[in-house]
């Protein structure tokens, strides 16, 4: 019954390959452009898809034009901070919402639900003035803070904890484990998958963010990679090879990260989307 007819199978693969060309092709074209040497015509018609004399020269030139490795390091610091704060903060808050009994729990849950519904684009100016009042404008801490514990991540963790059977914690409770021990030793290890999803979301969100760093950072030495790329594009739009090299630097780590973690990722996204 699960057998697929041969004709249908061929058709499926043809369609899959067509979509593959459409989704991955543009990235390969960008990679190809970044590897083309200065004497090669990148505007030829018909276009040539493979670089005739592949070179890494453009990657050196990006670094001469903008401090691209510093920008990448800034992005990495922001993203790492975001992963740590989101994993720790969301796990703690999610546990409190799912498993602990206290007055005000409903109000706390409601606060996170409301926060999830507020569109960030609509409050961005007020976030900016809040940051100014705190004196954190134009700092990487200012970039990290607003998203450092995402409301959606808290609710994801809450759902994960809610799905755990109570019995395993009850046993530990009877054995005298206090709330921190139960959280760290029993509940948290049981929701590793969701923690991984939160970590990936946090990393990607921070590494990819554009609007907020664009607003909060004004000093080019503090730029993150996305803002730096936009700057590169604006200033040196005439040399497409440089811009292409810059985008490859920005996207390669993410594709590597995703390729390594995609199993957790698809499982988690699917579960979160349906049960959320």
């Amino acid at each position: 019954m699960t057998r697929v007819r041969k004709g249908e199978l061929v058709l499926r693969y043809v369609l899959l390959l067509a979509v593959l060309a459409l989704t991955v092709g543009p990235f390969l074209w960008q990679l190809s452009t970044s590897l083309k040497g200065p004497t090669e015509d990148i505007y030829s018609s018909p276009p040539s898809f493979l670089p005739r004399h592949p070179t890494l020269h453009n990657y050196e030139r990006v670094a001469d034009t903008i401090p691209v490795w510093d920008y990448a390091f800034n992005s990495l610091r922001v993203a790492t901070a975001n992963v740590v704060t989101n994993c720790v903060g969301s796990a703690l808050a999610g546990y409190a919402l799912a498993r602990l009994r206290y007055r005000g729990r409903r109000a706390a849950t409601l606060a996170f639900v409301l926060a999830m519904l507020v569109p960030v684009e609509g409050i961005i100016i007020a976030q900016f003035t809040t940051m100014r009042e705190l004196g954190l404008n134009n700092t990487l801490i200012g970039v990290v803070l607003p998203g450092c514990i995402g409301a959606m991540n808290v609710l994801l963790m809450r759902n994960a904890f809610l799905n755990l059977p109570y019995e395993i914690e009850e046993a530990a409770y009877v054995d005298g484990a206090n709330v921190w021990q139960r959280f760290l030793r029993i509940a948290l290890p049981a929701v590793k998958g969701t923690v991984a999803v939160v970590a990936i979301f946090a990393f990607m969100g921070a590494w990819d963010d554009f609007l907020w760093p664009l607003i909060v950072l004004s000093d080019p030495s503090k730029f993150t990679l996305t803002i730096g790329l936009n700057y590169l594009h604006g200033t040196f739009a005439n040399d497409e090879r440089l811009v292409a090299a810059g985008t490859v630097i920005a996207v390669a780590p993410l594709i590597a990260l995703f390729a390594g973690l995609q199993r957790y990722f698809f499982r988690g996204v699917g579960e979160g989307a349906v049960k959320g």
């Binding site: 543009p26 969301s90 684009e121 961005i124 514990i149 995703f258 349906v274």
Partner: protein, 297 residues
């Protein structure tokens, strides 16, 4: 013995729950909920970046009515919803059906189709600026087949359409995953029963698949329409900070960013535009989800 440990555990409870929730509450309180309230308040003031500002009542909203740029922004953000949402409700569903069946290599295709979602919007924007350039790949191909070159990024409407295409391209994989999860819950027997009754693939899609994933379609509709109305990065990157020829491609969030930031930023006025963004966003969500509920009965 046992009762004493239990009571020891109980004694720790009154303080610790709040310790667990406090960091999260503090962050969303300070950086989401407080800014939300202050946006609502600022909208009724003439606050600027360096000047506290005073209460001005509805002056900002009255000014919006006469601001050409605001109407351009509202028009473009609304067009964006109309252009992007139908594509993002239907195409990812078809894509999910394509990758649903477990055939050799399918995990590779699923992951590969997700690549545009993983790539940052800036990278995606710059890739497409290069592809759609006057002398870029797409125009080279068009010229090679004799169509001639098209100014995708220089014409006001083509630019907006191109940005929409990029948004759809980047969103396909994300919504595909949501549909995949929904399709996994469609009982196989329904398809088999329909097949026995002689229904072809298209007929089974319309009579079995679509009704079964209706609520997911509504969810995708709500998510994508809210996201489309708040579009910023795609258009900003492809049209430039000033919003294309004569600013005709400016969207509402681009306008918020442009008027509200910098040393002379009009925080009050930008907040008023933000309030419009909130209201329309909530309205869109209610509209899409209500349409779904009506269909179910």
């Amino acid at each position: 013995m046992a009762s004493s440990t239990v009571s020891r555990v109980r004694r720790q409870l009154p303080t610790s729950p709040w310790l667990f929730a406090a960091p999260g509450l503090l962050i969303i309180g300070a950086f989401i909920l407080y800014p939300f309230v202050s946006t609502l308040v600022n909208a009724f003031t003439d606050r600027r970046t360096l000047i506290p500002g005073e209460f001005v009542g509805l002056a900002n909203f009255r000014e919006l009515l006469h601001d050409d740029m605001f109407w351009i922004g509202l028009r473009n953000s609304s067009l964006y919803v109309l252009g992007v949402v139908p594509a993002l409700v239907i195409l990812p569903l078809l894509l999910a059906l394509l990758v649903q069946k477990n055939i050799p290599g399918i995990t590779f295709f699923r992951s590969a189709f997700y690549t545009p979602v993983v790539a940052s919007i800036v990278v995606v924007g710059l890739i497409w600026v290069w592809l759609l350039d006057e002398r870029g790949l797409i125009n080279s191909l068009l010229e090679a087949v004799g169509v001639g070159r098209i100014g995708f990024l220089s014409d006001q409407w083509l630019l907006l359409l191109s940005a929409m295409a990029v948004t759809v391209w980047k969103g396909l994989g994300y919504y595909m995953i949501i549909y995949l999860a929904a399709l996994a819950n469609v009982p196989r027997e329904l398809h088999e029963a329909a097949a026995v009754d002689g229904a072809g693939a298209i007929r089974r899609f319309v009579t079995v698949t679509v009704p079964a994933v209706r609520s997911t379609m509504a969810l995708v509709g709500a998510l994508s329409s809210v996201a489309a109305f708040k579009v910023f990065s795609e258009v900003y990157l492809m049209a430039g900070p000033s919003g294309g020829p004569a600013g005709e491609d400016t969207t509402l969030v681009m306008l918020v960013q442009r008027t509200g930031t910098g040393l002379t930023g009009r925080v009050g006025y930008a907040s008023a535009i933000s309030v419009v963004v909130f209201v329309v966003t909530v309205a869109l969500m209610v509209l899409v989800l209500r349409a779904d509920r009506r269909g179910d009965t």
